[in-house]
């Protein structure tokens, strides 16, 4: 047997002592019978009746519930804060990047105009053609301007 085993074996045979067994039994029975002589440890010596003891238990329960709700609220708040932090960490796009972005997307706006003729009888079709052409010209000019400035 090593020292640890001796220790644990020794502890297994240990028994608690109750100095005044009768007083302790009376205290337990006091609680059991709801007699006022029970002084709960956490109540700083205020004698309690059985009814008040129930109230105390209920209030403990509400406190526990409240603590639980506070913990849940704190968790939700921290998740939201982390989300907000991450969102703020995303850098806003600079104007140059924005232009580049638009220039890169120029294809998106380029419309195949080959099938639309200027003598189209449809006014809407014609307006659409004009708009598309204007837009294309605008991005074309932007591209040239950007190239001059940066390349």
């Amino acid at each position: 047997m090593n020292k640890t085993d001796i220790l644990l074996d020794g502890l297994q045979h240990q028994q608690a002592h109750i100095e005044d067994e009768k007083a302790f039994t009376d205290m337990v029975m006091g609680r059991v019978e709801g007699v006022e002589n029970y002084i709960p440890r956490h109540d700083h010596g205020t004698p309690l009746k059985r009814g008040r003891l129930t109230q105390q238990n209920n209030s403990q329960f509400s406190i526990l519930n409240f603590q639980f709700l506070v913990r849940v609220a704190a968790s939700v708040a921290s998740v939201l804060l982390v989300g907000l932090f991450v969102a703020l960490r995303v850098q806003p796009v600079s104007s140059t990047d924005s232009t580049m972005c638009s220039l890169h997307n120029i294809d998106k706006y380029r419309i195949d105009l080959s099938h639309i003729s200027t003598d189209s009888t449809s006014r809407d079709m014609y307006r659409c053609y004009q708009e598309a052409k204007r837009e294309q010209t605008f991005y074309h000019n932007e591209l040239i301007k950007y190239s001059h400035e940066n390349l």
Binding site: L8, A16, H17, I18, M29, R31
Partner: protein
């Protein structure tokens, strides 16, 4: 003539407080010992003993006579200790606690009857850093001598939980004692 346990229980179930007083006298030391070993705090242990008897009195009608009364009380106390441990979160050893353990271990026989505060001090040193379940299964297994099946019944934990918590607790305690110079 001394009444049998069955007769005492029957009287308790009819609301006889004198019979219940006999039950309290009979089992208060057993439950205080359990509380002290599980919680490492005499006052907390006394509270648990009181709560156990109050609960037992309130639920006397539900007592299943197939089991021994001591087993039933022991189960109530174990579970109350566990819920109290969860609330206490951690047993923190006091500055002199380690000295108490060293003194006890240096005694050749290791069988000296300890005072309540000494027993609590040793429990605090051993249980430091253990979770509630680990502490509970370790106490019931090593300090109370219960087998795994009995621990499952007393704590409501399943076999796997008992086994794994016991393993972890043993490792932690072994390591701590090793650091203190004991193998």
């Amino acid at each position: 003539m001394i009444p049998t346990e069955k007769e005492i229980i029957a009287r308790c179930q009819q609301g006889d407080t004198t019979a219940f007083r006999y039950v309290v006298q009979q089992y208060q030391t057993m439950l205080l010992t359990l509380g002290l070993k599980m919680l490492g705090d005499e006052e907390e242990a006394k509270d648990v003993v009181q709560d156990t008897f109050v609960k037992a009195w309130e639920h006397m009608g539900r007592y299943d006579s197939r089991y021994a009364l001591s087993t039933w009380l022991y189960t109530i106390a174990s579970r109350l200790c566990m819920s109290r441990m969860k609330r206490m979160r951690r047993i923190a050893p006091l500055p002199d606690d380690e000295q108490v353990l060293r003194r006890y271990m240096n005694e050749t026989d290791g069988q000296r009857q300890l005072e309540n505060n000494e027993l609590a001090a040793i429990v605090r040193v051993l249980a430091d850093g253990l979770g509630a379940k680990q502490r509970a299964v370790f106490t019931l297994s090593h300090l109370e001598g219960l087998d795994n099946q009995e621990i499952e019944e007393r704590t409501g934990l399943n076999a796997r939980q008992v086994k794994s918590n016991l393993y972890v607790a043993r490792q932690i305690i072994k390591q701590r004692l090793k650091q203190m110079g004991y193998e």
